[in-house]
Amino acid sequence: MDAFVALANGMAVAIQPMNMLYALIGVLLGTAVGVLPGIGPALTVALLLPVTYKLDPGGSLIMFAGIYYGGMYGGSTTAILINTPGESASMATALEGNKMAKAGRGGPALATAAIGSFVAGTIATIGLAFLAPWLVDFAVHFGPEDYFALMCVAFVTVSATFGSSPIRGLTSLFIGLTLGLVGIDKLTGQPRLAFGIPELLDGVEVTTLAVGLFAVGEALYVVSRRHHSEEKLEPVRGSLWMTKEDWQRSWKPWLRGTMFGFPIGALPAGGAEIPTFLSYSTEKRLSKHPEEFGKGAIEGVAGPEAANNASAAGTLVPLLTLGLPTSATAAMMLAGFQQYGLNPGPLLFAERPDLVWGLIASLFIANVMLLVLNLPLVGLWVKLLAIPQPWLYAGILVFATTGTIAAKPSVVELSMLAGFGVMGFLMRRFDFPIAPVVVGLILGPIAESQLRRAMSISLGDPMALLQSPMSATLLGIALIALVAPFVMQGLGRFKANED
């Protein structure tokens, strides 16, 4: 019952005109960046962080969540109309959706994606609203050693368990952890890895890293292989509306996709790709028209798109209740909270219920807005895809550097941006996942401070980590998740999610 009351109070916050406006800006931006190839929701939040630090925290966070949801909707449009998914979680959608577009059924493909996203987003947000208070009650009893163990689980699952190569995933994570060390140690006041450069004493700015890796790195990577890729935009032909048969074939995949997406997103397992591909293979197996798969089966769009959106809502569960980001976008949202001195977790639910529940309630509103924006206005979004590549990437780089210049207009900071850009380029070229670096930078310092708090309580006895049943269990899970991919080498695994 508590959830109902809290949600009603949240709704009262969310329908304030200013907050509705923030949600609208968020979903508009999110859809736009989801549609555009080369920029995802994580980068957009990173770009907006320096711009929004003077704004109202509640409103900006509502906007960031709108960007997250909007990115998931917009990505499907790109995946269906030009086989290159705007964000990696839309890869499964591209498989059938692009075939449908080629066969002149682009309209129904976009419609089932948008309505499926709405159904899944709404159900998953209800799930978030009811799961969150329960998890918060549970997390209140967590000690620092339990938090540390939980972060170890997140580190391993984000980097090793589900990536294409556990070694490369862990390498990314440890680079992020190393970057997290830079700066003054908060407990002793000693500088670490600053090499006497004053700008480094404050540590590596999350936005600089994210913008460098995502924007500059992506631009360098795309330009380096511009002679390899060929993009062909399929025009939307035929009716936008789904036939009765389309509805009949879509509603079950929507619900099943939600069932895959939400729990996997909510577990600190990270990534929307696993549920989308699980949903795709399930629909292929259950379909009455298996022969259509590979040629444009509507189930293959409906299911993965629902899974995609449900997992976005799912990742908000560990983010809001435990302060645990499991995707790059969630990591950037955590940075957004930190920018206002807010730490997501049980305390935030107690201290700022207006903010947390306003955010959750606004997700329902954002979903309705996205359905309206995406169905009738899809033609408008498609026009974005017509922006010539040179101007698109030149514009992205200008905006990317503007964010850094506005936050810290120093040569050191801009050089770091360029350096991270080169790093992002090399990581893409050699297939190292990007998200673990960002998660490592944000979560590493938090994990260290929890560990040191636990150690000072136990007077330096490391066995304290194993004496709490909770942390012992979690460390066990982390160990299994770390070893499992090496044991199962060769078994089919899915690539880690970048966004």
Binding site: L220, R226, S415, G460
Partner: protein, 163 residues
């Protein structure tokens, strides 16, 4: 970064020199971490000093350096397509120009316009004058929007002081 512009990855089971470089870089990073941690004072009788985490991470990096080395020696790195290195350098040149202009006090608009033109050229545009105009208009609008609407100050050079 540019040593592998051929399609080296297409031949499996060959030593991947770029992978060896990555492994060496990771090992070097681990060494830097240990050296930096050794400079720290640890007078924390209870609990854990500031040097523990860097050493733990350095150990992890060391193990991963070995793991990456093994992968490289087995030629297990993913195949790579040939890269257009000239275009990559052009964008990096644009970034360098941006940093130089900002560093020398040239202001936001010329700096970002330079990056805009360099990037557009790297992506195959050959209309430098038109791109200069587009970049100039766009960055001027950004500058005005930032200073008026968001009240965030961007670095001003001679040009920006006119506003």
């Amino acid at each position: 970064m540019t040593s592998d512009s051929g399609s080296q990855g297409s031949a499996p089971r060959r030593i991947d020199s770029a992978g060896v470089v990555i492994a060496l870089a990771l090992a070097a990073l681990a060494a830097v971490l240990v050296w930096d941690a050794s400079q720290l004072q640890s007078n924390n009788p209870y609990g854990m000093g500031p040097h523990v985490m860097p050493v733990v991470i350095a150990v992890g990096l060391g193990i991963l350096a070995i793991g990456n080395l093994v992968e490289a020696l087995r030629g297990n790195l993913p195949a790579r397509e040939s890269a257009d290195t000239k275009a990559v350098w052009l964008i990096l040149g644009g970034l360098a120009l941006l940093i130089a202009i900002i560093g020398l006090g040239g202001g936001f608009i010329p700096a970002t316009t330079a990056l805009f033109v360099a990037t557009a050229t790297a992506f195959g545009r050959r209309a430098i004058l038109a791109d200069l105009a587009i970049g100039f208009v766009m960055t001027t609008l950004i500058y005005v929007a930032f200073s008026r609407l968001l009240t965030l100050s961007l670095p001003a050079g001679p040009l920006e002081r006119l506003f």
